[in-house]
Every structure is written in structure tokens, then in C-alpha cells.
Symmetry: C4
Subunit: 216 residues, 4 copies
């Protein structure tokens, strides 16, 4: 009952089907990443003389802007790597991808809270949980497509598949490990998070290196 | 007079024509779904100490966010299923699709009202009516394209066409039936609506099953 | 000096060049049309009991929403008809198209003013002038591409070219003629404008009919 | 370590890879350019009688709107010229492009400050610095892709490559030279900036002319 009758046709019209998933996804990523700037504003009552101070006071928002830009960009980069290896979709992948987009589109809210409440552990934990949920949805997309779903292109190498699996889990794992930092040193957590994602790339490169021997 | 002289060329340049309809539609779906988050905000005056309570108080907005994300995503899923079977457009389909987009782009407003007035029957009924109007426009697109318009691909199976017709009507019918719930138990209505759309899929699968025998 | 050295390559890589113009244009149209809803909001202080009245009081904003949705959709429909006949771009067309997008992206502002100041001749005239400017930019794109620019596909029929020229001018002409209505009966003007565009289609159809005889 | 194992496959699936970079970029450009209008609003308390004056008082915001529209459009035009010559991507180009998008998506903020604080040197300098950062990121994309990255199409002429390098640097150079104007005559700076970009085109045309002789 899970697989719809339309399924057969889905396979026939592959490219097209994936095409609109990518169009909607790129749209949501682009909008979420661009809406972040709406959270940064100088109070309407600021005088010209008070402008320099008002601009400097906004620094926690600039930091939150850069952090969320990097975080959302990273989700997009992984989305692109993963969907490059995905040949077709089914209804489960469609909804897992929509779940990812729901969490990505949610991120401007915890970003705003973090920018308005710098140094608040509550804001930092809210942010971390939001990113962890998005990371789990991102990982679920890839594990389903490359596992039970069987939706990959035939030319996708086993090493690539495993590397992306490791990479997709390293995000939520590292973020969960960072929760104590968020609680005890919220500012430090923001800096850590900006660099967590480069870290996941190293883990990822390491896994791939280990898989290199295998014949494809 | 209804069919424009440009019509003939429309048929020649099919893919392209449908292409821009899909580009505009995916754009509107992506933006409508991402703007929803702008309705969720912590009051600017909230202190760090008051933050946890302020975040919890927002729960009706989180619920409205999830509801509208699922609702708009569902319109997109059906749009994609339907337009996969549509080969070309004419001016009537163009404007029916724009009508659908007008109602989809309207949804962030009733969503905001629902999030700000949880438990208000008026907010719930406004929301229901907005979704019903969008559902009717969605159904009109498909009934026109598959009926009088004659715009389908030759390979579209009769079972598929009928199944999508049933599915497109099950939405507005179930939503209309839910209006009493919206009036007497607004919260319950939100929960019901999140699950109405999976229900329409079951109705849809049932219709298709009944049509299976037919030769294509 | 006007035509850049890159021009030659532009011709080689046609589809691609037009492709990104259409991507940016569809993006701007989709966002402008979806941002309109942000102008409609119930005052935060509205009580549940006051909600029905607050919702009804917003009717001038609903009207302005529908008007601007129809107006922007119409610009998109004409853009799509015109660019379907355009084979390649040059720098002049690129900037004329950006000028059109600048006026289209501006429309949410006069729409908001019209929604907030219903019945104000100033608001209605501001709106009319904004749409006239967008119409002139739209017409300039098409007259340049089909005239001096020489950018059309070889298969574009003369009748089609003339018909779109007439249609592109009928918009600004009818809107200019409607300025007295905007001044003396602002509400009536909004209703007229919603129907101006169907009128331009009739003018357009009439022109095409007269051109039918000609050999292509 | 810098080049990922996925690199080989990137080359295989070129078009597709570049395709999503362009989709995300066009999305961010389109949204940034359209969000600018949200900074223009008439105070909610304006009476109908006070409307003409309120609309005229907004002129610094109209000027900032036109300026930022031209600036962002110009970044898009150069992005399109450059990526037309780029055949494939690697992870460095991906992130340089995201850096460019981060600065482009940031521009609505200094635009708003400039519109609210007309004639303030601080606002003008903030604006200039933001555009310089975006220009440098734009130049970095092109210098990397055409230099160390070696990502160009084989048919890209040397003259074109050098011309775009000159053009990509002329932006930040002219903007830096304009900083004194921003400090001593903020309004004049806005007018200058609107015309800086046509100037860069002339520098660019001059460079190309000098390169014409060379065999490709």
C-alpha cells in the first residue's frame, strides 16, 4: 500500500520527477538563506549620531547570520552530493525530503532568537536542537535512498555511498556532543558550529580513503 | 475567441511552455512554504530569563507552521503528479494554475491568524475556507486539463486520470466535512487536517485499485 | 561600443543565456507575487471576539491582493509569450528586462499603500503610475527584441510579432486612460484594472485576426 | 586533501553540478533583489491627507532601492558572463560562490540603513564596504575558476578570460576609490555608485580590444 500505482510511471519519467524535487528544494534553500537578513535591522529610532554604536551592538546578529548561512549552505552542499547519485524518487523519499525542507525553513527562527539573546544557553540549545533535527532528516533521506529505497544510479560507487552515510551521521553526532558547550559557553558553541561542518568533511574523507581499495 | 492564435505555436514549443509554468509554480510553492516561518517570533522585549516560557507559549504557532507546511507540500505533491501527465498548456490552464497559486500564496495569512488566535473557531473556519478554495482550484486545473482541455500526454492511463480526479475532489470534500470540527473544536481540527491528506491518498489508492482491470 | 565582444559567444550558447534570464525573471515574478501576502495582517492586539470584524475590515487589502496578483501574473504571461519567440539576448535586452523586473519588484509597495489607504486618489494614482512604468518596460523589451535588436527566432510569424506589439502598448494606453477614474473614483479604478488586462487580450486578438491573411 | 574523492564524478556529471549552483545562485539573486522593497513602507499612522508628503519623504529609500537593484543586477550579469565560460565546479568554487551569495544576500541590510539614514557618512561607508566585500568574492570566483582551479570550458578565449579578470577587479578598485566621496558627500556617492558599474564595462571593453590580436 505504501508504493503508489503511479510508481511505474515515476520510473519512466525519472529526470523530470527529480527535477521538480530539486527545483522546490533549491527554492527553499535559497529563500531560507536569504530571509536570514530580515532578522538584522537597526532600530527605527536610531539617530545618525547613534548609528555607529547601533551597528556595532548588532554583532551577535552578524555572527548568527554567518553561522546560519554556513549551516544552511552545508545542508545544500550535502543535498547536492546526495541527489547527484539518486536516479529516481518514490513517495517516501519525497516526504523525507519535505521533512528536511521543513526543518531548513524553520532555521531563520532559532537564528533570530540566537541573535536577539546572545549568550543565552536556552537560545543556543534551541538552535542546536533545530540543526540536529534537520541533520537527522538529511541523513534519513540519504540512508533511505541508498538503502531500503534502492533509488541510486547504477554507477554510484559503494565507497561514495558509505562515505556519504558517514558524513550524514557525523553532523548530528558532533552537534549532539556540542550540546554541553551550548549550555555552558553559548558563544563558544557558535564558533564551534561554524567549524563543525569542515570537521565532518575530514571524517568523510577518512572514510572514503578506507574504502578506496574495494572494487566498484 | 477563447483559444488564442498563439495556440498553434504553443503546441510546437510544448516543453518550454510547461517549463516556465512549473518554474513559476515551484517558485511560489517554495516561497509560500518558507515565508510561514516569518509568523513565528519571540517578542523583542523578552528577557533571557523569560525566554523558555516565551518559546513554549508559541506552541500554537509551531502547530500552525507544521500544519501549513504539510498542506502546501501536499498541494505541491499533487501538482507534480498532475503536471507529469500534462503535455501542453493553453490559456485556460495557465489562468486556472495562477488561481491555484493565488490561493496557495494566500495561505500564510490564515496560518498567521490561526497561530495568533489558537482555539478561535473564526480563525479555524477562515483557515478551512482558504484551504478549500485552494483545493477547488487544484481540482479545476486537473479536471480541465484531463477533460475539456485535452492537454494530457497520450501515455496517461485512464486509471491514473480517474484516480487523480478522485484524489483532487477528496481534499475539498473531507475539508468541508471537517467544518463542524473547526467550529466546535478548533484544536482538534488542526490535528485532523494534518492527517486529512494522508487519508485522501488512501481514497485515491482505493479508486486506482478498482480501475486496475481496465486495459489502457 | 554598445555590443560587447562577448556577443559572438552569446549566440553560440543561446539556450543557456536565455535560460538564466528566464530563471531570474521567474524568480522575481514568483517572489513579488508571493510577498504581497505580507501586507495583510490582523493587528496583534485583536481579541478573539474582535477577530471577525478585524478580518472584514481588511477587505481593501484583499482587493489590493487580488488586483496585484492579477497584474503581476499578467506581466508574467506576456513575458512568457514574448520570450518564447526570442532566440537570443544582448546586453540591451538584458538591462531592459532588468528594468521590467525592477518595476515588478516595486509593485508590492504601491499595493500596500492602496490596501492601507482605500479610496485615496493619491494611493490609486501612485499604483497606476507604477503599473504604467512596468508596462512601458515590458513593451520596450518586446519592441527592442523584435525590432532593432533582431533577436527573434526565425520561425516567429509577422502576425504574432505585430500582435504582441499591439498588446504590449494596449496596457499602458488603457492604464493612462484610466487615470481620471483613479482620481475621481479610486475603488472603481481597482475594479477596472482587474479587467483591463482581459480587455488587452481582446484588442490583441483583433489585431492578430487582421494580420492572418499575410504569408509568413 | 583539498580535492574530494567525489571530484572524478563531478567531472562526469558536469552540467548537472553547475546546474544546481546556478539554480541556487539565481534564487538568491532574485530574492535579494525582491526583498529590497520590504524596506520601503509608509508609516501605518499616515492619514490620507498626509499621504502625498509621506510618499515624497521616502525619496532616500527609492534612491537606495534603485541603487541596490542596479548593484545586485550587476553582480548577476557578471556571474552569468563568468559561469557561461565555466565548465565544471570543485569544492573551492562551490564555497567561493556561496561566499559571494552570503554578501549579496547581506545587501538588503546596508540598503535599509542607507534609506533610513540618508546623508549619513556611516551609512554610506557601511554600504560601500558591503559592496566591496561582495565584489571581492565575485572576483575570487572568477580568478580561481580561470586560474588555479582550471575549470573553464576549452573554448573560452584568452581575451575573454583577461577581460573578465579586469572587469572583476575594476569594481572593488573603483568602489574603494569612492570611499572619500562616501565620507564627505554621501548623496553624491549613491549617484556615483549607480554609474560605477557602467564605467567598469568601459574598462572591460578597452581591455578586450587590446587583446583582440591574439590567436585563440
Amino acid at each position: 500500500m505504501w508504493r503508489l500505482p503511479l510508481r511505474e510511471d515515476d520510473e519512466a519519467a525519472d529526470g523530470e520527477g527529480i527535477g521538480r524535487i530539486l527545483a522546490l528544494s533549491d527554492g527553499v534553500f535559497a529563500i531560507a538563506i536569504t530571509l536570514l537578513i530580515l532578522e538584522i535591522a537597526v532600530p527605527a529610532t536610531t539617530s545618525d549620531a547613534g548609528l555607529p554604536k547601533a551597528l556595532l551592538t548588532l554583532w551577535p546578529r552578524y555572527l548568527a547570520y554567518v553561522l546560519s548561512f554556513v549551516v544552511i549552505a552545508r545542508f545544500w552542499v550535502i543535498h547536492r552530493l546526495a541527489f547527484r547519485l539518486i536516479a529516481r524518487d518514490d513517495e517516501a523519499l519525497l516526504w523525507l525530503n519535505l521533512l528536511l525542507l521543513m526543518f531548513v525553513a524553520f532555521l531563520p527562527f532559532p537564528t533570530a532568537v540566537l541573535g536577539q539573546h546572545p549568550g543565552s544557553p536556552v537560545a543556543a540549545v534551541l538552535y542546536a536542537i533545530s540543526v540536529i533535527l534537520a541533520s537527522l532528516a538529511s541523513a534519513a533521506c540519504w540512508w533511505y535512498a541508498s538503502g531500503r529505497g534502492g533509488l541510486l544510479r547504477p554507477e554510484a560507487g559503494r565507497a561514495q555511498v558509505r562515505a556519504l552515510r558517514a558524513r550524514s551521521l557525523s553532523g548530528p553526532v558532533l552537534l549532539t556532543l556540542s550540546l554541553p558547550i551550548a549550555i555552558f559557553a553559548p558563544y563558544a558553541a557558535e564558533i564551534v558550529w561554524i567549524f563543525v561542518f569542515p570537521l565532518t568533511r575530514i571524517v568523510f574523507a577518512w572514510f572514503v580513503a578506507g574504502e578506496r581499495e574495494e572494487p566498484r
